[in-house]
Symmetry: C2
Subunit: 289 residues, 2 copies
Amino acid sequence: MTAFKFFQNQWTPVINNFLEKKLAEEVEDKKISQIMAYSVMAGGKRLRPLLFLATLNSLGKEITDTEIRIACGIELIHTYSLIHDDLPAMDNDDYRRGKLTSHKKWGEAEAILAGDALLPLGIEWIAQASDSAKLVKVSTEAVGPNGMVGGQYLDIDSTNNASVSNDEQYINKMEWLKTGCLIKASVEMAAIYADATQIEMVKLIDFAKGFGRAYQIYDDLVDVVESSEQAGKATHKDKEEGKNNTLTLLGIEKSRSELVSLIKQTKQNLSGLNAEVLEGFLDLYQKVL
Amino acid sequence: MTAFKFFQNQWTPVINNFLEKKLAEEVEDKKISQIMAYSVMAGGKRLRPLLFLATLNSLGKEITDTEIRIACGIELIHTYSLIHDDLPAMDNDDYRRGKLTSHKKWGEAEAILAGDALLPLGIEWIAQASDSAKLVKVSTEAVGPNGMVGGQYLDIDSTNNASVSNDEQYINKMEWLKTGCLIKASVEMAAIYADATQIEMVKLIDFAKGFGRAYQIYDDLVDVVESSEQAGKATHKDKEEGKNNTLTLLGIEKSRSELVSLIKQTKQNLSGLNAEVLEGFLDLYQKVL
């Protein structure tokens, strides 16, 4: 078993248990707690919390309940973004991770509010466990108008806009903001929290940038390579809906070679760090290569 | 001129200028910046930022750009909540403060995203300017599932539900969460930020609780007492839409006498503090009495 697999098998259940237990215990109203937990517990890969924990691990920081709370705070924020992306006014998706999306299951007002509840709760967990305003700043910046939500806005603003379909700069920026920013923040938050040295910080952030960029290309490829049953959501949708992304820009084969070269480059960023686990995250992308 | 009026006249333009300038400067995408600013600059009373600043003032804390940023962060969060409340799936309002609501003006996806951008940006401003994880915790708790969003959920869950219309406990809780929590947090954040003594903290929080409870009764009364032209939004809507609130529970006259007694009690909480300005906030309610 690879170091990554071992780490993933060790911590994924810890993350899942924490999320399930704390959402039940700490959200007072049982109905909204259930609606929030429905999406949080829908079987995500826990990529962002695992990245946070693996970065701590690479810096020799011990992982306790405190660090798990920060990691899970990031996952709550990520889940909020999925719920709102799926809304009828946004991507209008009926399925996510093989289950009905929040608004299909509970109603649209409920889904908006579940997202609106998960975002501040995630930030609260980060603030409470880290006692660090800096970590809050990094995480909120990553998901605000100059981060994830800014990317969502560029996405809806450019859908079915032919003038954007060949604009590499626009597409790169949009994809980076939508997905890359929060992935990078997960690593950066761990580096700040664990008092990384300047050199470690630079290497980790370069790794995170490469990993985040690669993730988006991977995610676009999943859309065409996998059947919807494998992916647990509607695939082959991007093209039908006039979405612009790296894949529509480069085509499948060039996207794949771009991904291969990004993986190689991103591995190099980790040289000199104790980063066997972090390196293993890049294996995730093999399934579309 | 009362001390409150003087304070309000002094700081309202400072708050407005800060909001307008920073949203233009610090949000990179000019279109989403414009959509956010449209709602933020729609002419609110700036009640929550003024409460934050007036509490600092009562504790002898100097007000600089740093404190203005925290105050304005609270206003961004408040504005996000208004935009999402007005959405078609929620209250479905076409007008707010005499202008088209965000989704009527810009579209539904844009309004969802403008709210989703204002919330983390507001928290970012609070974290950045205060450098205090405690302030972040208080503000996020106030707007999360155990605060404002929890209240919104109770509201949508009980609309047109006759079994709730006589349930005083349910209605009190819903109103407190929807409106009271963030008002209380605005005062509490200032008390923490200015290192209030234990005694000052207790008095200020009691004041904030009374003021927040009174605000909701006031807001319900505005709905029936004012014409929609005066209020800048649709009035007389609550009853038509099957909303349950203190007013539908008690009727107009009993709501008024409840408000009068709350004002008296809340003033008493301030005795022994240098709180002439804070006391003046209670005069706001005269217009429905």
